[in-house]
Amino acid sequence: MRRSSLLALLVAGCAPNVPASLGEEPEDRVALRDAPQLEHLATALDVDAGHTVEDMLRAWASPHAAPDPSAWFDARESAHAGLEPLAGGTPLRVLTYNVGLLDRWYPFFVVKSPHVDERREHAADEILAGGWDLILLQEVWEWADVERFEDAAAEHGYRIHAGTRDVHEHHGLVTLVREGLVEDGTSDHDEVTFEIQRAVEDFPGPAIERAYLTWSFVLAGTDVELHLLNVHATAFPEFPRIRAFQARELGLAARDAPDDAIVLVGGDLNAGPYYRDDAFGEIDGETVSGWWRNAIAHPLLQYYGDLDDMVVLAGQAQDVTLPGALPPFDGDDYRKEAFGDSSLCELLGGTFTATDCNSLYFEQYAGTEFPHRIDHLMVRDPMQRLRVLETALAFEERLDFGGYGWFELSDHYGVSATIEIE
């Protein structure tokens, strides 16, 4: 008998959920209580003295209390404030900014940030006209938007690195450096996709793979080797463990740079340093919980990368104090206006980069997320050749988009830092 078969077969691969190298790095085997960046996690997790970083990542228990990094922040702020001022340093303005140009379809669904068509027309010129020297951008997903930034970079005098087109469309990262800052012949680029992913985000989801861009060069006129790492980690409060592993991988990459180099890490970690409440926000009537575990990636990145948060170094971290003014969560109130009382945005402003005070953020996530500082600038500077002079939020204001109305340039606020390098 002759048989004919027509087959429709669909196969999806399985992604690993723990890094292959977990336990192999010396940093994995350090006890939480022996790592100053992680000590507050040990307290919140209520673990014994021998509980290592690897133990924490494997067990992935929920903290019993809000991990509070205040003591660590205070120590780093004081240490940085005690450094001698630099004589004749090179001042640089650094920006990290998630521009939120998401406009994707996948089978039966569309994910599109509000007003993306209007915003993408203005984003490149608005940002590059701001006078920053080093710019780390996230969510420039489409190659057409990269080309807009390339055109603007040529006009405003920047070099640009967006990775290769095929990979870029999955990570959406763009780094720009002002012309003249790069010593000729010293530039080196790369793009790295994280080992641990939320696989469904790529396929059949909107083709997103979390990654980081690297760009190293000698700062012109100095002997300082600068390493820029631009990152966008996995989103949503339900996936803190994936983010923790990505923070570990990124941190280890930052630590790989020579000790006499300066490493600047910037991007959207999708995790803040502090969450007052473990349960906060509602999605379809279900309470969003697990925020305390979302406070793990930020210290973990600093620990693995030997990094410092520039906002902390500048003495401007208010992550722990500000939420005290936040009213207890009430779904109905929080969905009506920011925090149930949008006048609180004045009081709660200046720190959180992902907040209902942003009209575009409110339109997408009203009353579903704890306001948090998830966009970060960090530095690794073992030789203490860098000073953070100040940090601030950027692009908080609403712009006039003509007939489309007034709204922010993105659903995130940017984070800027003024630094000085010896």
Binding site: V11, D166, F203
Partner: protein
């Protein structure tokens, strides 16, 4: 993730009619049985193929309306696997529909001659066979070739108009030639061999270690 389209299955098993040797114009039976006439198979194939075509139109509507794709905008290479995945939903209907149409037409062609409703004509047999095979071959060949080279073509496309235009134009031309081709070829072969052997066709779910699918298995 594996799509769950194979959760429901349809199984058709249609036995062939009596294997007589009719004389042109002479009915074998004054009241020929409808069973084995291929009509049910033709209907099933037509419905499946039609639903597949409607599904394709719905997908195109999704791209134009909800996804708001503009022909002049740059084509996102990231979407190539998504397009393949998305369009597989309606191809799952067309893939069994087309052979069912062909086999149904084959059985209908036999039935008409055996039932005396059609006088066997060598000329018509030859014409239907040649035209049908040409159309079916052209349609399936066009589909196969255009899909085989789709990745480099799509990667070379700068705009949505280029990429989606390529995919959709070749899809509809393939379908519009393959469907009448399968029917004509079936009619021609059925008329040529009205007493041909029994045919069976079965559609059923397929489970393999890493996925699910839909299989059409038969003896034609």
């Amino acid at each position: 993730m594996i799509a769950g389209f194979a959760a429901a299955s349809v199984v058709l098993t249609l036995a062939g009619g009596p294997a007589g040797q009719p004389t042109a114009g002479a009915p074998l039976d004054d009241r020929p049985r409808r069973r084995g006439s291929g009509v049910a198979m033709l209907w099933t194939g037509g419905v499946l193929t039609g639903l597949g075509a409607v599904g394709r139109i719905a997908i195109e509507g999704f791209w134009v309306d909800r996804a708001d794709l503009d022909a002049d905008e740059p084509f996102g290479r990231w979407s190539i696997p998504h397009i393949a995945f998305f369009t597989s939903f309606q191809n799952v209907l067309v893939a069994p529909g087309l052979p069912l149409l062909g086999v149904g037409a084959l059985r209908f062609g036999r039935y008409r001659v055996r039932a005396g409703r059609l006088v066997r004509s060598d000329r018509r047999v030859r014409r239907n066979t040649v035209v049908g095979a040409t159309l079916l071959g052209t349609g399936l060949g066009l589909w196969a070739v255009t899909r085989a080279v789709a990745i480099p073509v799509l990667r070379a496309c700068e705009t949505n108009g280029c990429a989606y235009g390529y995919l959709e134009s070749t899809y509809w031309i393939s379908l519009a030639t393959a469907v009448p081709g399968a029917v004509l070829l079936g009619l021609g072969r059925g008329e040529a061999r009205p007493g041909g052997r029994a045919t069976t066709a079965t559609i059923g779910p397929l489970a393999v270690p890493r996925g699910h699918g839909l299989a059409v298995t038969g003896r034609f």
